[in-house]
Symmetry: C2
Subunit: 132 residues, 2 copies
């Protein structure tokens, strides 16, 4: 059994905390944990806008806090994000995520993130075999 | 892209809401969604105690709200549960979960739950092939 505390990670395990310009992701579970998925708590800064396309991963994102929106770039449809709303990128959907207020999200990736990925120019993470 | 709202499901999509004596699970993502994992928001009633052993699944559980504890029945070790604590049953660990206050948990299952499982006598869910 693995037991991890978000608050403990923030203080003492900074290797699990990954930041970019306007988001921070706390990796609670990574590929090495052997669960077959990774689990992250991700913060998106108020006022920020992000274009992502996880060509090599499925991702689900559950909003725990904050307010924003997501636009599916294939259809042009925009959905409100608020606590309790989840989106799942079952078609590796290219999308724009906007944080009107800081968003706090519980994210699941399959295949699991290894911990060394960064977003590439095209908004994707590299496939696992390139980052292992 | 799949977009679902917890509050909408609670009101209009009761097929996704599964209850037992003292827990309720809202299935945000199930096997049929094709993500390779399922994602549930689960409520465990204040004062309740549960013995689970997911012999056929890996499960991770992230505490969003409440207070309780988990005991690993293989080692006898007990860990406090509070917001920000996650446990991951990477060895299909048999465990006792206690809710001192109502617990609200974000749960991920791999392989994904199909939606028709109930806990069996032994605290497990049937493997996917028996419930499909």
């Amino acid at each position: 059994m693995i037991v991890r505390d978000f608050n403990e990670i923030i203080e003492n395990d900074r290797d699990r905390v990954v930041s970019d310009a306007d988001w921070t992701s706390v990796r609670m579970l990574l590929a090495g944990d052997g669960m077959g998925f990774s689990f992250h708590i991700t913060f998106l800064q108020e006022g920020s806008e992000h274009t992502f396309e996880y060509k090599n991963h499925f991702e689900s994102v559950y909003c725990m806090k904050g307010k924003g929106s997501i636009t599916d770039l294939a259809t042009g449809e925009t959905h409100k994000i608020r606590p309790g709303v989840m989106y799942a990128l079952n078609n590796h959907d290219r999308h724009v995520l906007r944080a009107e207020e800081e968003l706090v999200m519980a994210c699941v990736f399959n295949p699991p993130v290894t911990g060394t990925e960064v977003h590439r120019e095209d908004g994707s993470y590299a496939p696992a075999e390139e980052t292992a």
